[in-house]
C-alpha cells in the first residue's frame, strides 16, 4: 500500500510549527512518532496535503520535574522514555506502567505521549484499507453516512484505544495546547468529546505541547490492567487504571479510569466516593468493578465480544483496586 502524496514540513521550533498550522490548518496532519498516522495514511484514512513532522521541535521533548508543581512532560517524549523514567516510576508509577503496555518495544521507541493522547479512535470497520472499505460500504467516520456498529443511529462509536490516558486521567493531568492565539491549558478529562469521529477538542490549527501532572497527584499507589489477546503488540480491548492513597489503612483518595470501551477514556464517576475512607476488601473491590462495568459501553468496534469486554472491565477493575492496595 503506497502512501498518498503530501508535502513534508519540518519545523525546528514551536513558533515555526504553529506558523505552519495557522497557514494550512485543515489541509495538514501532525506527525509525531507516526506509529498511528502512517498506517492510517496508507489505508487512505487521511490524505493530507501537508504533513507537519514535529519530531525536531526539541522543546517538546523530555520530562521536567518542577519543584512543588509536579512535572511537565513534553508531548514528543517517547513512550519508552516514560516507561523507563526513574522519576515517574517513583512518583507517578501508574503512568510508566501504562506506557509499558503500549504496542511493542519498537513502537514505544517511536510512539510519543502526545500521539498516544491524540490517538485516533479505532473501529474494525474503519481501520481498513480503502479497497476494504469500498467493499463494505463507507461509514460515518470516513466518507459515509451510516454506522456498521450501531446501524440505526447517526453517531460514530469508534473506540478510544490509548493506554496512557486512563492513567493520566487518574493523575488529574492537564494538557497544554498551542495555537494561533497562544497557549491554553485544559484538564485532560475535558479534552475528549465522547463521540467517535470528532473525538478530541483540538482545532485543526492547534498542537498539543505538554502534559502536566500536578504535585497533588504525587506518590499515589497506582496500577494499570489491560485486556489484550497477546502479551505484546495488541491495542487494549479494555483497560483500567486506578490510583489511590491511604492513611492508616484507609483509602484517603482514589480515582479509577477506563479505556478502550468507549469513544473516550473515562474517569469512572462515583468510584472515588465509593472507595474514600474505606478499607479495601474483596467486596468493596467488586462493587467498584460493577460500577466500572456500568460506565463501559463496549460495542462491536473491536475484537472479542462487547459482553466479554464489559465483563473484563468488571474483573480488571476489581483486580486493579486489590493490586493497588497491596
Amino acid at each position: 500500500m503506497s502512501l498518498p502524496q503530501f508535502r513534508l514540513l519540518r519545523p525546528r521550533t514551536l513558533d515555526e510549527a504553529v506558523g505552519y498550522l495557522a497557514k494550512h490548518t485543515d489541509k495538514l496532519r501532525v506527525l509525531a512518532g507516526g506509529t498511528d498516522l502512517i498506517p492510517s495514511m496508507r489505508q487512505k484514512l487521511f490524505e493530507p496535503e501537508y504533513v507537519l513532522d514535529i519530531r525536531h521541535v526539541v522543546e517538546l521533548k523530555g520530562i521536567q520535574p518542577r519543584a512543588g508543581e509536579g512535572v511537565s512532560i513534553g508531548a514528543l517524549t517517547s513512550l519508552s522514555t516514560i516507561e523507563h523514567s526513574d522519576f515517574l516510576r517513583r512518583h507517578y508509577p501508574v503512568l510508566p506502567e501504562a506506557a509499558a503496555t503500549v504496542a511493542s518495544p519498537v513502537l514505544r521507541n517511536m510512539g510519543t505521549l502526545g500521539g498516544n493522547i491524540c490517538l485516533d479512535t479505532r473501529c474494525l470497520w474503519y481501520n481498513q484499507s480503502l479497497t476494504w472499505r469500498k467493499g463494505c460500504g463507507f461509514c460515518i467516520k470516513k466518507d459515509g453516512d451510516l454506522c456498521h456498529v450501531a446501524p440505526g443511529g447517526s453517531k460514530c462509536w469508534a473506540v478510544f484505544s490509548g493506554d496512557t490516558p486512563p492513567a493520566l486521567l487518574c493523575l488529574n493531568a492537564e494538557v497544554e495546547i498551542a495555537g494561533p492565539s497562544g497557549l491554553r491549558r485544559l484538564p485532560l478529562r475535558e479534552f475528549y468529546t465522547g463521540v467517535g469521529d470528532a473525538y478530541r477538542k483540538l482545532r485543526p490549527s492547534e498542537l498539543l505541547t505538554r502534559v502536566f501532572l500536578p504535585e497533588a497527584s504525587v506518590d499515589y499507589l497506582g496500577v494499570y490492567r489491560k485486556l489484550r489477546v497477546r502479551g505484546s503488540i495488541d491495542y487494549p480491548l479494555a483497560g483500567v487504571a486506578v490510583v489511590l492513597k491511604r492513611s492508616n489503612g484507609h483509602v484517603s483518595d482514589a480515582r479509577l479510569a477506563i479505556t478502550a470501551v468507549n469513544p473516550a477514556p473515562l474517569l469512572v464517576k462515583g468510584a472515588s466516593e465509593m472507595l474514600a475512607g474505606k478499607v479495601i476488601d474483596e467486596a468493596l473491590a467488586e462493587a467498584v468493578g460493577d460500577l466500572a462495568a456500568k460506565t463501559a459501553k463496549p460495542l462491536t468496534t473491536s475484537a472479542l465480544t462487547p459482553e466479554y469486554r464489559r465483563e473484563m472491565i468488571r474483573v480488571f477493575a476489581k483486580r486493579a483496586v486489590l493490586a493497588a492496595n497491596n
Binding site: 476494504w132 446501524p151 443511529g153 462509536w157 462491536t300
Partner: protein, 861 residues
C-alpha cells in the same frame, strides 16, 4: 551405520549468513532495468457477474504502461488437474471479496494505485454463500455452474463394519467439533517478478523468466505454460530466498500468473508484491471445518470404530480442496490401530477466499476432534489418557484398514518420552485447580506416494557435478523456503561423498538448471529429494571409487570415503563401507569404465608424480576426484526417487491421497493454566516428541518441532479469520493474532529416531506432523485444569469463560452469541470471536445472511 561425520550433527544452515546479514535476496529485493510495478484490482463483492470493464481511463493516466483483464489470459488453471477453475483475472464472474479483476503495470506503486481507481467495473451482484451448510443447499446462482449444490467434491468411505462395531462397543462418544479458519501468515508476503526476453526475430515477447516466492517452481512453470500458451521450455522459474510458506506458496498464487500476463502486455519486467491484506485474500489456508465424530471403544480401551462426517468451508475455488478433504479421512488411519472406519467428507464452495494446503494439510482439525474425543472416552473408562493411546498402537510393519503402509513407527517411544519428561504419572489430575496437563498424538506423511499429476515420472531428480579441485555442485529442484532443504541436500551429498560441507555448493530451484522436483509440500523434500541426492552422490562416488581403486590397487569396494580422504578400508578410522547399500547401480557405470586413458587430457605434473610413486593407501578427496575425471572424462552423477509401488495405497475412489512411503509420529504433553475469571489460557510448557526417522540435522528438527507447536498453539488459542458477509474482518497481522514471543511457552523438543528403512539415512518428515497434536493437547489440558471440554477452536478467552460459566450455572452472559463452545452446532456467519450484530455491507437481497433479521446493535443507551 551410525558413525556419521555430518549427518546427525547440528549444522548451520548454508544460507544463514545471507539471511542474517541482509545480503540474501528475496523476490521483492530483486529489480530489473525498466521494471514496472504491478497492482491488482480486487473485487469488492463476494459474488457478482462482471458486465463491463472499462480500463480506458486508467490507461490514459501518465505512467501507466499496461492494464490487463481476464480476456488477456482466458485459459483456466488450478493446482489439481481436476480443479482447473481459476483464471489469472476474472473472465465472467468474481467469487469472493478480493478476487482478481484487473492489473495495472505502471512506473511506480502510487501511479498504479491511482490507476486502479480509474478502472470502471460494472457488476451484477449475485446472492452469495458464506456458510458451507447453507451453500450445500443452493439450487441456483451456483458459484461454479458445473458444481451442483456448490459441492466441490464429496467422498464416502467405509472400511470394515463400523455399524456392527459401534453396536458392540462398550462406550461410544459422539459430538460435533468446529475448527475455525486459519491462515499461514508467513513473514514474507508473496512476490513475483516476471520478465520476457524480446525475441530478436519477431520482436514479440519470447522466453519468460519468473522469480517468485514459491514452494513449487515446477508447478508454476507448468501452469504458466498452460495460461500463457507457451512451451515449458520457454519458461524459466527461479525461486530466490523464500520467507516461509507453510503451504501458502505451495500452489500457483494469482499474482504469479498475473505478473507474467502484465509483463507480456507491457513488454517490460513487472513485479507484484502483495500487501498483507492481499496475502489474506490469496489465503489457501486451513478451511473452517465441521467434524461430526463418533468413536467406539471396548471395555479395555481399544478403539473399535470411528465414524467421521467432515464438512470443509473451502472458499470459492477448488485449489487443493479435493486433496484436503481426502487427507481428513485417510489420516484417520496410520496413527492408531482402528479396525473399522466410516468417512463422509464434503468439500464445499463458498464465496470466500480460497482454502488450500496448510501445515498439517487436512489432518489438523480432525485430529483436534479425535484426540479430544479419545480423552472423553478415557474418562468414561476411568483410564489414563496416555494409557488409552498406548492400548491402540499399530503393530508395524502393517497395512491399515484403509490401505496405508506403515513401516517405521516411533509412536510408542514418543508417548513414553513425553510421559516421562513431563512427570505425567505423578502430576496428571493432581495439579492445583486451574492448572492442568493434556496429552495428544499426531502423525503426518513424508510426502505423498502419488503425485498430483498422475504419472510415473520420478518425484525428485538430483544431479551432481564435481570439478577438478574437488568442488561439489548439487543441482536440485528442492525449494528451500526457510525449512533448510539446501542444507539437507548439502549434508547428504557431503556425508555420502565423505567430503566436507564447505566443498558443497547447492544450486536449487531454477527450472533451467535443476532437474524436476515437484516442490516443497506434504513434507516430502527430505525423504524424496534427500533420497535422490543420496543416489546421485552414490552414483558419482562409484565413479570416483573406480578410478581411485585403480590408483590404489584395490577393489572399489575396499575404499572408505571420509573426512575429505579416500582410504583403503583398513587405513584410518575405519567406518563406512565403501559403497552404501542403498541405490541401484548407475547406468553411468558401464559407459565410464571404457573411459579415456588417464592423463590423456590433462597432463598435470602432479598426477604424473603420483603415478610414479606407485599405489597409495590413501588419496585426498581432490586427488581421487582428479583421478576420476582423468579416467572418466567428466564427473557427474544423477539420482532419482519415486515412491515404491507397495506404498501407493488401496484401490478405492480417492485412495491416492494419504499413502506415503513413511509416516512421522508425534506425542505431546501441554501444561496450561486457566484464569477462571477471565477465561484466559496460558500455556506454560509443551513437551513435544517427534519421530523423524533420523535427525539429519538435529537443530533443524528441533526448530521444526518448536515451530509446529507454536503454530498449533496459535490455532488453539488466538488465530482465527473472522467474517462478516464475505468480508474478512481481520486481514492484517494486528487483528489476526499469531502468538507473540511473550506468550510463547517453553517447548521441550524431544527427537525420536525410528530409522525408516526407506528414508535417506533413515530420515522421515519433521515439519508438519507435530502441529496437529498441539491443539488437542491444549484442549485436554484445559479440561484437566478446569473441567470444561471445548469443542470449538480457537479457545479464545470469551469462549473459555462462556464454557466455565455454563458449567458453574453462573449468571449467563451472552459471551459467544449464544453458541456454546462446548457443544457448537453451527458456524456463526462471521466466524467466532466477534459478535457482529452490526450492519455490514449491503448485498444481494437473497443473501442467506440477509434473510435473518439483523439484531439491533448493542448500544443500549
Amino acid at each position: 551405520m551410525t558413525d556419521f561425520t555430518i549427518i546427525g550433527k547440528p549444522t548451520a544452515m548454508v544460507d544463514a549468513a545471507g539471511k542474517t546479514t541482509g545480503a540474501g535476496k528475496y523476490a521483492d529485493d530483486l529489480s530489473l532495468p525498466g521494471m514496472l510495478v504491478g497492482r491488482i484490482l480486487h473485487s469488492p463483492f463476494p459474488h457478482a457477474r462482471i458486465k463491463r470493464i472499462d480500463t480506458s481511463r486508467a490507461e490514459k493516466l501518465d505512467g501507466v504502461v499496461a492494464v490487463v483483464t481476464g480476456k488477456d489470459a482466458p485459459n483456466p488453471y488450478g493446482i489439481l488437474p481436476v480443479g482447473h477453475d481459476e483464471h489469472a483475472l476474472a473472465t465472467d464472474k468474481v467469487r469472493y471479496v478480493g478476487d482478481n479483476v484487473a492489473c495495472v503495470a505502471a512506473v511506480d506503486e502510487s501511479t498504479a494505485d491511482k490507476a486502479l481507481e480509474l478502472i470502471d467495473v460494472e457488476y451484477e451482484v449475485l446472492p452469495a454463500y458464506f456458510d458451507p451448510e447453507d451453500s450445500m443447499k443452493a439450487e441456483t446462482e451456483l458459484i461454479h455452474d458445473n458444481k451442483p449444490h456448490n459441492l466441490e467434491k464429496d467422498y464416502h468411505h467405509v472400511f470394515g463394519d463400523p455399524e456392527k462395531a459401534f453396536a458392540e462397543a462398550a462406550h461410544v462418544a459422539e459430538a460435533r467439533f468446529i475448527a475455525n479458519e486459519v491462515t499461514h501468515a508467513a513473514m514474507e508476503p508473496h512476490c513475483t517478478l516476471a520478465s520476457f526476453e524480446i525475441d530478436s526475430l519477431t520482436g514479440k515477447p519470447g522466453r519468460l523468466t519468473v522469480w517468485s516466492s514459491t514452494q513449487v517452481p515446477y508447478y508454476l512453470q507448468h501452469k504458466l505454460s498452460l495460461v500463457l500458451e507457451m512451451q515449458m521450455s520457454q519458461i524459466r522459474v527461479i525461486k530466490p530466498l523464500v520467507g516461509g510458506g507453510f503451504g501458502g506458496k505451495s500452489e500457483v498464487i494469482p499474482l504469479e500468473i498475473i505478473a507474467a500476463v502484465a509483463a507480456r502486455a507491457a513488454r517490460a519486467p513487472v513485479k507484484i508484491t502483495y500487501t498483507r491484506e492481499e496475502v489474506f485474500w490469496a489465503h489457501r489456508g486451513r478451511p473452517r471445518t465441521i467434524i461430526d465424530l463418533k468413536t467406539g471403544v471396548d471395555k479395555d480401551g481399544h478403539i473399535t470404530a470411528v465414524k467421521a462426517r467432515v464438512v470443509q468451508d473451502g472458499g470459492a475455488y477448488c485449489s487443493y480442496g479435493v486433496v484436503t478433504i481426502l487427507y481428513s479421512g485417510a489420516l484417520l488411519g496410520a496413527l492408531y490401530d482402528i479396525p473399522n472406519i466410516q468417512y463422509d467428507g464434503y468439500r464445499v464452495l463458498t464465496n470466500k477466499p480460497v482454502c488450500g494446503a496448510m501445515r498439517g494439510h487436512g489432518t489438523v482439525n480432525v485430529r483436534f476432534a479425535f484426540e479430544s474425543q479419545l480423552d472423553e472416552l478415557a474418562l468414561k473408562l476411568k483410564m489414563d489418557s496416555a494409557e488409552i493411546r498406548r492400548r491402540n498402537l499399530l503393530k508395524p510393519p502393517c497395512i491399515t484398514i484403509n490401505g496405508l503402509r506403515v513401516q517405521s513407527y516411533g509412536l510408542p517411544e514418543c508417548i513414553d518420552k513425553v510421559v516421562e519428561r513431563s512427570g505425567w504419572k505423578n502430576r496428571i489430575g493432581k495439579l492445583p485447580k486451574g492448572r492442568g496437563l493434556g496429552i495428544a498424538c499426531s502423525h503426518y506423511v513424508s510426502g505423498a506416494a502419488n503425485s498430483i499429476i498422475r504419472s510415473d515420472m520420478p518425484h525428485s531428480t538430483v544431479n551432481i557435478k564435481i570439478d577438478r579441485d574437488g568442488g561439489v555442485v548439487v543441482y536440485t529442484g528442492a525449494s528451500d523456503i526457510g525449512q533448510g532443504s539446501d542444507t539437507m541436500v548439502a549434508q547428504i551429498a557431503a556425508e555420502t561423498l565423505g567430503c566436507s560441507m564447505a566443498r558443497v555448493k547447492v544450486v536449487a530451484a531454477d527450472t533451467d538448471l535443476t532437474p524436476i522436483d515437484i516442490g516443497s509440500y506434504s513434507s516430502r523434500v527430505t525423504f524424496m529429494n534427500g533420497n535422490a541426492t543420496l543416489r546421485a552422490a552414490q552414483d558419482v562416488k562409484k565413479q570416483i571409487a573406480t578410478a581411485a581403486a585403480r590408483k590404489m590397487a584395490c577393489a572399489p569396494e575396499d575404499l572408505v570415503f571420509r573426512e575429505d580422504k579416500v582410504s583403503k578400508n583398513h587405513v584410518g578410522a575405519g567406518g563406512l563401507p565403501a559403497l552404501a547399500e542403498q541405490g541401484s547401480p548407475s547406468p553411468h557405470q558401464q559407459s565410464s569404465v571404457s573411459g579415456r586413458v588417464e592423463g590423456q587430457i590433462l597432463r598435470g605434473s602432479l598426477q604424473q608424480k603420483r603415478k610414479d610413486e606407485g599405489p597409495k593407501d590413501q588419496l585426498t578427496f581432490e586427488e581421487a576426484v582428479v583421478a576420476a575425471i582423468d579416467f572418466h572424462g567428466a564427473l557427474s552423477g544423477t539420482g532419482s526417487y519415486a515412491p515404491p509401488a507397495e506404498a501407493r495405497g488401496g484401490k478405492h475412489k480417492g485412495a491416492g491421497v494419504g499413502p506415503s512411503p513413511a509416516y512421522s509420529y508425534s506425542a505431546q504433553v501441554a501444561e496450561v493454566s486457566v484464569d477462571e475469571e477471565t477465561g484466559e489460557v496460558t500455556v506454560h510448557k509443551v513437551w513435544a516428541s517427534h519421530d523423524c526417522g533420523r535427525a539429519l540435522n538435529p537443530v533443524s528438527v528441533e526448530g521444526q518441532i518448536i515451530g509446529s507447536v507454536w503454530m498449533g498453539m496459535g490455532q488453539a488459542l488466538t488465530e482465527e479469520m473472522v467474517w462478516k458477509d464475505g468480508m474478512l474482518m481481520n486481514p492484517g497481522l494486528l487483528e489476526y493474532r499469531s502468538p507473540s514471543s511473550v506468550e510463547s511457552p517453553e517447548i521441550e523438543a524431544i527427537i525420536v529416531e525410528s530409522v525408516d528403512p526407506e528414508g535417506p539415512f533413515g530420515a522421515k518428515e519433521c515439519s508438519e506432523g507435530s502441529l496437529a497434536a498441539t491443539i488437542p493437547a491444549i484442549a485436554n489440558a484445559v479440561y484437566d485444569a478446569v473441567g470444561v471440554r471445548l469443542h470449538e477452536s480457537p479457545f479464545t478467552p470469551e469462549r473459555v469463560l462462556a464454557a466455565l460459566r455454563a458449567k458453574k450455572n453462573a449468571k449467563t452472559l451472552n459471551l459467544t452469541e449464544g453458541v456454546d463452545p462446548t457443544s457448537p452446532v453451527r458456524f456463526r456467519e462471521h466466524g467466532g470471536s466477534l459478535w457482529f450484530r452490526g450492519k455490514g455491507p449491503e448485498r444481494h437481497a437473497q443473501d442467506p445472511s440477509r434473510r435473518e433479521s439483523v439484531v439491533k446493535a448493542g448500544g443500549d443507551d
